[in-house]
Structures are given as C-alpha cells and as structure tokens.
C-alpha cells in the first residue's frame, strides 16, 4: 500500500515534517501545501533534511503556495497544480493528511 502524505503546516513551528520524514515508506510520496512549502526555504534546516533524502524522496509541492511565498521549487521536486493534486490523491492507495 502506498501513501501520499500531505503537510500544510510550517516546519519551523511544529514537528509534523520531521515526524513524517521519519515514518515515510519507500514507495510513499510527500506533498507540501500551504505553510508547509516553507520547508523549501533556502539555507534552512528543514530544506537540509529534505535534501538529505532527495535521492529517494518523491516530493511534490503546490505551485500557487510557492508563488505566494516567493520560494523556488528545487529540481529534485515537482511543482503541481490542483488538478495534479487530485491525480496524486487517486494514484496513491491512500492519503494521509497531517491535520
């Protein structure tokens, strides 16, 4: 069973991202939305934690949230729009929203 993990909280103000990275399965993927896209803030420890896993991590990021916050999508991640978000939700067996 594969899982799409969806995060929407800032990694600087809580521990969802670090917990999620710890329990992420090899075939799982991670989608950053809302304030969770701050994890891609250059020269920050959340970005470093993601980069360390970048060789194997399937990382998707909601494009409009990147735009709003003026953050660039790294080459090893994939920026997606809402229709692609829906497709991802269907592609993976289940969606785990870290509310």
């Amino acid at each position: 069973m594969t899982t799409l993990h969806v995060l929407s909280h800032s990694p600087f103000s809580d521990t969802r991202l670090s917990s999620c990275l710890r329990v992420l399965g090899t075939d799982d993927a991670l989608l950053l939305t809302g304030d969770a896209v701050y994890a891609l803030q250059p020269q920050s420890s959340p970005l470093k934690a993601l980069e360390e896993k970048s060789a194997t991590l399937k990382l998707f990021v909601l494009e409009e949230d990147l735009l709003a916050r003026h953050i660039d999508c790294p080459q090893w991640a994939t920026a997606v729009d809402y229709p692609a978000f829906v497709e991802l939700s269907i592609h993976y067996d289940k969606v785990n929203s870290w509310l």
């Binding site: 304030d35 803030q41 420890s45 709003a68």
Partner: protein
C-alpha cells in the same frame, strides 16, 4: 502619557488572519499616536520576504499595509535576528525599509522597555 505598547507578530502571512490582524492593530495604534512598536518573530518574519504574490492565493497584498507603517507614525519596527537566521532570510533584503534585526539580548531588552506587550 499613554502607555507604550509592543506588538509581537508571530504568524506567517498567508495561512490565516493572524498576520493581518496584528498589523491592523499596530496601524490603528499609530493612527491614535500611541507610543507603539512592532516586532516580527518566529514565522512572522516570513511577512518581510520580498517578492511575495498574494494574487496566487486570491488574497490581499499584506505588503502594501506594511509600507503604510511609517505613514501611520510607526517607526519602531524590529525583527528577531534568530528567527531570520533560522529561516535563511537575510536582514539586508527585506520587503520593508528600516526594519532593525535584533539579537536575543536586544529582544529581551525591547520587551522589558515597553509598558504592555501583545503577542499574536
């Protein structure tokens, strides 16, 4: 003499009304000539990042309100240097002019200096 008031803004700009409400509070205080200051801390410092695009989320541009601070007589605007550094944000490239980045000791002294403090 009115009591001096320090507002500490800790919310990131696009996730809820917190950031705008803190700013509205400061602007209202400025309009009434209260001795008021604003400090950005934790995720609140993301409000100061240049090049943000509110239209991408169909929201109003918070940065226009930030530019109004000096017009409303609010000249004491600070940012927590620790929070900036943690997020890789350079104090030299902020969307608002004349924001003073403070060390932790200076933040402590700032809070001490004001009669009242509200953290949002």
């Amino acid at each position: 003499m009115a009591k001096s008031l320090l507002i500490i803004s800790r919310q990131a700009p696009w996730s809820g009304p917190g950031a705008k409400e803190a700013l509205d509070l400061v602007l209202a205080g400025g309009a009434f000539d209260l001795p008021i200051a604003l400090m950005f801390m934790d995720d609140g410092v993301f409000q100061l990042v240049p090049g943000q695009n509110a239209a991408a989320l169909q929201q109003k541009n918070l940065q226009a309100n930030l530019q109004a601070l000096s017009m409303f007589g609010v000249d004491d605007v600070f940012a927590c240097g620790h929070s900036l550094a943690e997020r890789g944000i350079s104090p030299a490239h902020l969307a608002v002019d004349d924001v003073h980045a403070l060390s932790t000791d200076e933040v402590r002294a700032l809070i001490d200096r004001f009669d009242q403090v509200i953290t949002l």
